[in-house]
Each structure stands twice: as structure tokens, then as C-alpha cells.
């Protein structure tokens, strides 16, 4: 009969006290697992797996604001870039894919961001290795939209639902006249796409009030291409052509709703998502450094600013929660100590009997340590399984409510430290009671 079997039998003898003590540890470990699972989901949502593009190109400004607005749609856009620049990027041999995003408006109902883009956006993966799953038909008309899972759920929209949008954010109060129609719904992605309404970028330009006076475009193009006279000249000639059409429309008496295809020189994009060649990782670096010196644009790696933000903000919250849980587990450890230590006076005779049967001091010391180890490890194991089990059960609910893609069985590296820590705790809290057993005077214990 080995020490652990003897210890197990002793624990079973005091099953209520032992069970409650192990439950303490289990609860602490369960909380830890849940925190790690949730933070793991938050971490992956915000960092390495959040986007499958190498660069985000936008107007010069804050890196973080560009990423927050283009990827997470949590901030208003900084400014716009000429559409001509998108064409220029598409021709760059280093660029595999350049997808425009135009945004700034929100739905009237629920204030979900409106993003104008191209079908390429849905053909590319939204996260590394994850492609969009779309339920519904293709976008054909200028006012057809694809809505994210969260938009559909919150607003109760499905195919055929119609809605209006507010210009420049909910607080502007300027509702566009156009009625948009839902033609497709995205499956949950766990990203900001779930909270976004997509429409064809041409539809975005066609919305009344989205165009600016030609002189303003001229000024913007001049600013943007100040260092590149050749491209500026090409842009200006396009703009001249647009001016002529506008003048002809004015003579013919067409109102502003009379629609011509918007000339490229009068189009703008808010950000451009760029994929560079996968086998040449330096492409993205060379593009970034080129943009730093020329034009009025910048390119950022979408991961770095967010990683900094997450590490700075969520990292501290995670640390605070884990510290709190460590204290809970430590308190549970004190509970084990109290439980075993209190039982020692009742078990003095039992220890005396074992010693009389030939058990050495080290034997009885080890039996008590084995008891605290079993309580810690079994409690920890139960807590770990229940923690992940709860994550399994609550994952669908959490995905539904938060959009976080939770992997309930994902083992955080922190969890690898759990059992060594519990073993250390067992040794710590078991030591004093074990020493009491070690020091038991056999003759006195037997006569007690």
C-alpha cells in the first residue's frame, strides 16, 4: 500500500472536510482558467489573428487611430486618400491585393458603421486561415448591402430588410435619403466585421452628399501629389474632364441625383488594406519606409499598434485578475493548511499506531504531505476541467453576445505553471502539519 493510497484513505475518512477544502482550490483554479480562456480570446481577437493583411495604408496621422478605425471600426477615420493612389498601389509589383475601405457613416438603427468596399474584401481571408461565410445573394445594385452577424442579430434584420444611414456618425443627425437593402448576412467572425454593414464602394460614392466640390478635390490632390508632378498632372487632367461633365449637366439642368459614374479623381478612400507577396517579407517594410518619406500617406503593420495597446491596457487588467486569483488560490491553500492542521490533534493516535506498526517518521511526514498534495492536485484538476467545461458550455453564448471567438480548450501557457504551483503550494501548506506528524511521540500518542 503506497503513501498516496494511505493518504487517499485518510482523506476519504474525512470526506466532508476534504471535499470542501478541495472545492476551495477547484473554485480558484476554475476562475483562473475562465479568465485565461476569455483573455486568450480577447488577445487573439486583438492581435496576431485579428487581420489577414500585411499593411493598412491611410492618411498620415496616428498609427493606432488608423488601425482602430480601419480594422476595429472603433474610431472615426482620420482623413481620406485619393482613389488614384489605390490604383497606383494595385500596380505595384510588391502588392498582391489592395482593398479599399470607405467609411464614416453609420446605420440609423444601432449606429453600426457603413463600409464601402469591393468584392475582393470577401474573397480574401478575414483572419489568417479563416474565410468569410456568406448567407444570401451577391451584391448587384448600388444600394445592396452585406451585413455582419451582430448587425443582423441586434437589429433583427435579414434578407430584404431595408434601412437608412446617418452621415458622418450618429451625432450628426443627417439621415441620407437612400434606402439600403440587405442581400446577404455574414456568419460570425469574432471580429469587427460582425458589427459592420458593407456596401459596394461605388454605391458609397453614389450616396448623395458624399461628393465634394471639385475645387476641394483639386486642393487635396495637389497636396497629396505635391512631390510627384507627373501623377499630379494625370490627376488634374481627370479632374478637368469631370469639371466639363459637371458644366454640361448644369447647362442641361440635371439635378444632383442624376447619376454619372464618379470619376476616379473625385473618389476617395479612407484606408487601403494591403497584402504583399507572401514569400518576400521585406516588401511590406520597403512599402512602409517609402510611404514614410513621400506622399501624404502612411502604412502601418496592423498588429503592432494594437499589441501595444492590448499589452498596455488589457495586459494590466489580466495581471490584476490573475493576481486576485492567485490570492484566492493562496487563501484556499491556507484552508488546506487549517483543515489538515486541525485534524492532526484527532489523528495523533492514528499516527502513533502507524509508528507502532513500524512506520518511520519520514513515512508519516510523507503521508501528510501526500494528503495536501492530493487535495491541491485533485482540487486543481477538478477546477481545470470544470473551468474548461464551463467555457465549452458558455462559448456559444459568449460568441453570440460578445463576438469573441472562444476556443474553450485552448491551453494558455500560464496553465502549464498551474500544477507546479499547486505542488509547491501543497508542500508549503502541508509542511507544518507534516512536521507535527514527524514529531509525534509514539508512546504518548498510543496512551492518549
Amino acid at each position: 500500500m503506497n503513501l498516496f493510497k494511505i493518504a487517499w484513505k485518510s482523506l476519504k475518512q474525512r470526506r466532508l472536510a476534504s471535499g470542501l477544502t478541495a472545492l476551495n482550490i477547484a473554485l480558484g483554479v476554475m476562475l483562473m482558467v475562465l479568465v485565461l480562456v476569455i483573455f486568450g480570446a480577447v488577445d487573439s481577437a486583438f492581435t496576431q489573428r485579428s487581420i489577414a493583411y500585411d499593411l493598412i495604408v491611410g492618411p498620415k496621422g496616428s498609427d493606432l487611430q488608423l488601425v482602430l478605425s480601419a480594422v476595429y471600426r472603433m474610431q472615426p477615420p482620420i482623413e481620406n486618400l485619393p482613389y488614384l493612389y489605390l490604383e497606383q498601389l494595385r500596380k505595384d509589383p510588391r502588392v498582391v491585393s489592395a482593398v479599399p475601405l470607405a467609411f464614416g457613416d453609420v446605420t440609423e438603427e444601432g449606429s453600426f458603421p457603413i463600409v464601402g468596399t469591393t468584392p475582393e474584401y470577401f474573397e480574401n481571408d478575414y483572419m489568417q486561415g479563416r474565410s468569410f461565410k456568406i448567407r444570401g445573394s451577391r451584391v448587384n445594385g448600388l444600394l445592396d448591402t452585406i451585413i455582419g452577424h451582430e448587425v443582423a442579430r441586434k437589429n433583427g434584420w435579414d434578407f430584404g430588410s431595408t434601412f437608412t444611414i446617418v452621415h458622418g456618425g450618429a451625432e450628426s443627425g443627417h439621415v441620407h435619403d437612400e434606402k439600403f437593402t440587405v442581400v446577404a448576412v455574414l456568419a460570425p467572425t469574432g471580429t469587427a466585421n460582425d458589427r459592420t454593414v458593407f456596401l459596394n464602394i461605388e454605391g458609397f460614392y453614389a450616396i448623395a452628399g458624399h461628393s465634394k466640390p471639385i475645387p476641394e478635390y483639386e486642393k487635396r490632390l495637389r497636396d497629396f501629389y505635391a512631390g510627384d508632378p507627373e501623377r499630379l498632372a494625370a490627376a488634374m487632367s481627370q479632374l478637368e474632364a469631370a469639371k466639363k461633365i459637371e458644366a454640361e449637366d448644369a447647362v442641361a439642368g440635371h439635378d444632383e441625383h442624376h447619376h454619372h459614374a464618379t470619376p476616379d479623381a473625385m473618389k476617395e478612400v479612407t484606408a487601403i488594406l494591403v497584402k504583399t507577396r507572401p514569400d518576400t517579407p521585406f516588401d511590406s517594410f520597403s512599402l512602409m519606409s517609402e510611404l514614410k518619406t513621400g506622399y501624404q500617406a502612411m502604412a502601418v503593420n496592423p498588429i503592432i499598434p494594437i499589441q501595444k495597446l492590448v499589452a498596455g491596457m488589457l495586459g494590466n487588467i489580466q495581471k490584476a485578475l490573475l493576481t486576485l486569483i492567485a490570492v484566492i488560490i493562496l487563501v484556499s491553500g491556507v484552508g488546506i493548511f487549517v483543515s489538515i492542521y486541525n485534524s492532526m490533534s484527532d489523528r495523533r493516535r492514528e499516527i502513533g499506531i502507524m509508528r507502532a506498526l513500524g512506520a518511520g517518521r519520514v513515512h508519516v511526514f510523507s503521508i501528510i504531505l501526500a494528503e495536501s498534495t492530493l487535495l491541491c492536485v485533485c482540487g486543481g484538476l477538478v477546477g481545470w476541467i470544470v473551468g474548461h467545461g464551463l467555457a465549452v458550455f458558455s462559448a456559444p453564448w459568449l460568441i453570440e453576445r460578445t463576438g469573441l471567438l472562444i476556443d474553450p480548450w485552448a491551453v494558455n501557457p500560464w496553465e502549464a505553471t498551474l500544477f507546479p504551483v499547486l505542488l509547491g503550494l501543497a508542500a508549503l501548506v502541508g509542511f507544518l502539519p507534516a512536521m507535527t506528524a514527524y514529531r509525534t511521540n509514539v508512546a504518548d500518542a498510543l496512551s492518549s
Binding site: 500500500m1 503506497n2 494511505i6 484513505k9 485518510s10 476519504k12 475518512q13 493516535r349 492514528e350 499506531i353 502507524m354 509508528r355 507502532a356 506498526l357 513500524g358 512506520a359 518511520g360 517518521r361 519520514v362 513515512h363 509514539v442 508512546a443 498510543l446 496512551s447
Partner: protein
Amino acid sequence: MSLLLERVTKSYREPGGKPIPVLGIERFAMNQGEQVALIGSSGGGKTTLLNIISGILTPNSGRVVVDNTDLATKPEVVRDRFRAAKIGIVFQTFNLLPAFSALENVLLGMSFSGRSVDKPFAIQLLERVGLGHRLHHAPQKLSVGEQQRVAVARSLANKPVLLLADEPTANVDLANQQLILDLIRDTCRDHNVTLLMVTHSADVAGAFTRIENLKDFNRPERCLQGQSA
């Protein structure tokens, strides 16, 4: 010679530091397989003597030789191992461990000896004491007589050379007294185990051919003489 005590003294100290002499034995010996009833008044040092013979306590002076090993000179860890392997003990209050079944109590006795646990032999012992049908019962589910029979089986689990029994029939009813006495004596005889049984009962002592009264060979004052010498 299975057991030999020579010039053994033992005293305790009062809280004030004054020594209380308990044992002063010039010589006491038992042959292999011999059975002795030890009688004596309460507080006369019988339990202390058994504790010294079993190596639980060490004497202040003298030799305690069991199976050619002088326990008085051995460190505690050796005495513990020797006790587990060579000495069986039957207590007045049985001292079965409540967390373990009858069989496990017997196996537990084997676990500490350093030898491999012999489960078939443990079952055989329990069958021998008439508890083959109670192997997996917890002690508290057994009658008093059955508990003492488990204790007897446990004491023989490691095939000891010496069995020390401290008033093993004091807490059992009359019907069981003779049964347990016969059981201990017959089993010891069958396995050629030396038996030293402490008893207050004249009936129990009467069953032995050799009866020793502790006061006849114990002179506690020798303790003090030894200390002053």
C-alpha cells in the same frame, strides 16, 4: 535466545526535572517460541517495558536484544524498520485504523516493513482468525471481538519473531476472551513466535506455563543507583 534484557533502566523526568524511576531490570530472557504471561500492578511499568522491547522507547541504560539485535544501540530509523519486520504488537484497544478495511489494516502492517505486500497471506491470516467473510468491512462495522481478531492478524502479518500483547482480552466479553487468547497462543505456537502477553487477568495468566510478575524482577531503584554510579 529470542528476547534478552540485561541491566535495563528507564526513568522519566517530572516537569520539575526530578527523575521518576520506572524500570530497573537486571536480566529477563525468553527463548524462541516461548510464551510468557507478564502480570503486575497498574503503573508498574509494564507498558514502558513493552515500548522498550518494541524499540518505541530506548532505555537509559542496558541491553535489549531481540533476535540477536541490540535495539538499545540502534538509531530510531533502524528500530522502526526492525519493529515493522520482526515484532508484532496487539494492543488492549485494538488500535485498528478506521479509514481502512480489515484487509487493509493487515496490509498496512506489511507496508512499513520494507518487504513487498503479500495480499494472499493477509487474506489467509484473516481466514485463520475466522474473518474470511469480513475482509472488506471497516473496523467500526465489526464487533469488538472481531476487531481484536483483525488486530491479531495484523500483528502476525510480517511473520514476526516476537509478539507483544498488551492486555489483548481486557476489552472483550467473556465469550471472546478465551477465543482470542487461544487464537493468539495457537497462532504463535504454529509459527514458532515468542509471545509476551501482559495481563491483569488471573484466568488469562493461568493458561500460561510461565508467568512472570514484573515486581519480581523489576527494581526501579537500580535506575537511580545506575545514575549515581
